[in-house]
Symmetry: C2
């Protein structure tokens, strides 16, 4: 079994209202110095060793991300990270 | 400026209906070998170098995660990762 992380983030050119809301809330809450916030999704998958990178890419592309507005990356974690 | 990633995941003992829905959808879509899926959030922050780890921890804890049901980790990215 391997642990895989799929990160899905809004594309740079896409507005991110959730991230912007956090960005604006921070100074109000007394946190200065944060210039930009983007909010996306993180999926953690427990997969058989038989599942190859091409399959993971297909899963990310077809099920986990909306590729019109989101970018995705797949990372295999070594050990118990 | 530094790039910081805050990962927020549902605690292990907390049910994750979104992750379970994905888990059940995968075999139906022809993807075998995925044993578990958990869905969480990923925040990317662009912060001043003056923002220290304690401040980032406070931001994650008070604003980005619901610590009753979620765990969080803060990672500083080196370079343009």
């Amino acid at each position: 079994m391997a642990r895989v992380v799929v990160s899905v983030m809004p594309k740079t050119e896409i507005l991110d209202p959730q991230g912007q809301a956090i960005e604006r809330a921070l100074p109000r809450l007394g946190f200065e110095g944060v210039a930009e916030v983007r909010q996306g999704k993180r999926f953690e998958l427990e997969v058989d060793d038989s599942v190859d990178d091409a399959t993971l890419a297909k899963i990310a592309e077809s099920l986990l991300a909306n590729t019109v507005i989101e970018d995705w990356t797949v990372t295999r974690l070594d050990g118990d990270a």
